[in-house]
């Protein structure tokens, strides 16, 4: 045998840049990809192109003013951002929110989960070439946004959750509209499945692609539908039930193989479960106040302002300075459509938080992109990115 090394002159490693301006990167994500032909040899995500300094800005604002900042992080799951922050502050203040507020929060959060998965499905199918899914999913998404607009006046970024409960009670007719939506939604999900489930091209592109083992995912800190698709049945709604998830009956879909097809199926089944959850929460919605009675935290109702002096003083103090939180720090986690969304707040006794940090699931999940795409084709990289469901607002904060 000859001693000289055989140089393979056909293998040439090329480093190319995908993004930040790219139609398929779901936001401004930049990937440095080393390609050998069409096979991905190495991958480095470069993020920070939509970094907004939200965590730093939050340190300058009173607690209730932080809520609009925090909800613009993961901009498809805004109710979950609000819940993580409000839940953390409520734990720090050691107040309990009323039952009606818990159920209202769950209704809005599950509708938001549906909304997030619909946008994911529309844009992912668009990346893979199934453009019709985009139109259908956005049609449903507009119905959900109509419901949000009915309850809070805004389509997106509604700042509906406040510390102590929700901002306002739902109007008359909201329940009827939600039930009408819930009646037609399962058949719409059936339509999506009919379009994609047995589509030969979709199956060939997603089956067996981007498989990462369950142990590796746990090492990488991945949570949410990505972890569940690989077979680990971990869902914070069942493991650490907060709000009223303990009273509701729902299943958690778990996949087997952990490829792109499993991720797709897990998210579709989660959409069905969300529909059931909203129905159950509506059925069990109790009467009562929608925000806590503690006047040191929540604004008094307006009719009291003309009669009660204490109410006027409380209102004044809350609006000008805001409520104070006793010193301490806490981490509180909730299950967002992408995984574990946690909020860490350091309170120093004043009306402004000393540190707000959001543990965003997309930021941590992005670390698995390299494992998913090594030794796959470039087209599979696009598919992996679609199934990963990254939201750059959450990654960059």
């Amino acid at each position: 045998m000859s001693e000289t090394a055989v140089v393979d002159r056909t293998a040439e490693v090329m480093t190319i840049n995908v993004g930040p301006h790219h139609p398929a990167t779901h936001g401004v994500l930049r990937l440095l990809v080393q390609l050998e032909g069409e096979v991905v040899k190495d991958l480095k995500p470069i993020v920070g192109y939509v970094h907004t300094g939200i965590e730093k800005s939050c340190e300058e604002k009173a607690y209730w003013k932080v809520i609009p900042f925090v909800e613009r992080m993961d901009y498809l799951a805004y109710y979950f951002n609000m819940e993580a922050f409000c839940g953390c502050v409520e734990r720090l203040l050691e107040i309990e929110i009323p039952e009606r507020a818990k159920y209202l929060r769950v209704i809005h959060m599950e509708l938001n989960r549906l909304h997030s998965h619909l946008v994911w499905l529309g844009t992912s199918a668009l990346d893979l070439g199934a453009i019709s899914m985009f139109w259908y999913c956005f049609r449903e998404r507009d119905s959900i946004l109509d419901l949000f607009e009915m309850s809070s006046g805004q389509r997106m970024h509604t700042r509906y959750f406040q510390v102590g409960g929700v901002m306002e009670d739902i109007p008359l007719g909201f329940e009827r509209k939600v039930r009408a939506f819930l009646e037609e939604m399962p058949s719409r999900i059936d339509q999506y499945e009919a379009l994609l489930d047995r589509n030969e091209i979709f199956l060939r592109r997603t089956k067996g692609v981007g498989i990462v083992s369950r142990e590796r995912l746990l090492e990488l800190g991945v949570t949410g539908p990505l972890l569940r698709a690989a077979g680990e049945p971990w869902d914070l709604r069942k493991a650490e039930p907060t709000l009223c998830y303990g009273d509701l009956d729902f299943k958690v879909p778990v996949g087997t193989v952990g490829d792109g097809y499993d991720r797709y199926r897990v998210r579709l089944e989660e959409m069905r479960e969300s529909v059931k959850l909203v129905g159950q929460a509506l059925d069990g919605l109790p009467e009562g106040p929608h925000i806590t009675d503690d006047r040191k935290v929540a604004l008094p109702p307006r009719h009291e302002l003309s009669t009660s002096m204490e109410a006027l003083i409380h209102h004044f103090k809350l609006v000008t300075e805001g409520f104070r939180v006793p010193p301490g720090e806490l981490y509180y986690a909730t299950e967002s459509p992408r995984g574990e969304l946690g909020c860490f707040v350091v309170a120093d006794g004043s009306a402004k938080p000393a540190r707000v940090h959001i543990r965003d699931p997309s930021f941590v999940n992005l670390q698995m992109l390299r494992d998913m795409s090594l030794d796959g084709y470039l087209a599979d990289l696009i598919q992996n990115l679609a199934m990963l469901d990254p939201i750059l607002g959450g990654i960059d904060r």
Binding site: G48, Y75, F138, R139, D396
Partner: protein
């Protein structure tokens, strides 16, 4: 029915008859002079070439896909079936800036992204327009901090600012339509003429010959 009704019909019928005769005359080559001119004027839209061009340009503006943050989702919603922007000419979102004429800056522009946006803008071919969608790209929005450029017009000429956080798709459509009317009204091409920025070009210094 009735005298008035039948009268009208007769009038229309006679008008129709007259038009038929005139059309037959034209085809035979019998119309001339003033009759011919009137015939042509009734049927042909005349306008200046500039107006026609701006009308065509404004009604077929193809946006470049430039979704940065939350406003991008509302922009996608504008494209979707309910608030269809295709009926106003923004038919396809072109991914390549070379093929697009409108840049909808939807979302907050961070300091890391600003040079990228500028480069994409420079790659677009004239004529091009920029819509700053939302509060963050118009003025920095609620984020008055170290990481966000306080308004895209710090480094780009912006034609229309659309307020909102995020603006409703109808608001975005209103902005697009306003841009169309603006284009039809002011047909100057080239942003340096539009913004009185002539004479501000910077040219690379001539290197001394060695």
């Amino acid at each position: 029915m009735g005298a008035g009704g039948t009268g009208l019909e007769i009038e229309r019928a006679s008008d129709l008859r007259v038009r038929q005769h005139r059309a037959r005359d034209l085809l035979r080559g019998d119309l001339e002079g003033e009759e011919l001119e009137r015939y042509v004027e009734d049927r042909v839209l005349t306008t200046t070439l500039e107006k026609a061009l701006t009308w065509a340009r404004s009604n077929a503006m193809w946006p470049a896909t430039f979704g940065l943050a939350c406003c991008a989702i509302e922009m996608m919603s504008m494209v979707s079936a309910r608030y269809d922007s295709a009926r106003y000419g923004a038919e396809v979102f072109r991914a390549s800036p070379r093929q697009a004429d409108m840049l909808i800056l939807s979302g907050r522009v961070s300091i890391k992204m600003a040079p990228v946006v500028r480069r994409i803008y420079d790659q677009m071919l004239e004529p091009k327009w920029v819509l700053a969608m939302g509060a963050c790209s118009s003025s920095g929005g609620m984020f008055a901090n170290y990481a966000v450029v306080q308004g895209a017009d710090k480094f780009l000429p912006v034609d229309i600012h659309i307020p909102g956080c995020p603006p409703r798709p109808e608001a975005l459509l209103h902005g697009v339509l306003k841009l169309q009317r603006m284009i039809q009204g002011k047909p100057d091409l080239g942003w340096r003429r539009r913004y009185n920025a002539e004479g501000t070009e910077e040219w690379a210094k001539e290197l001394p010959n060695a």
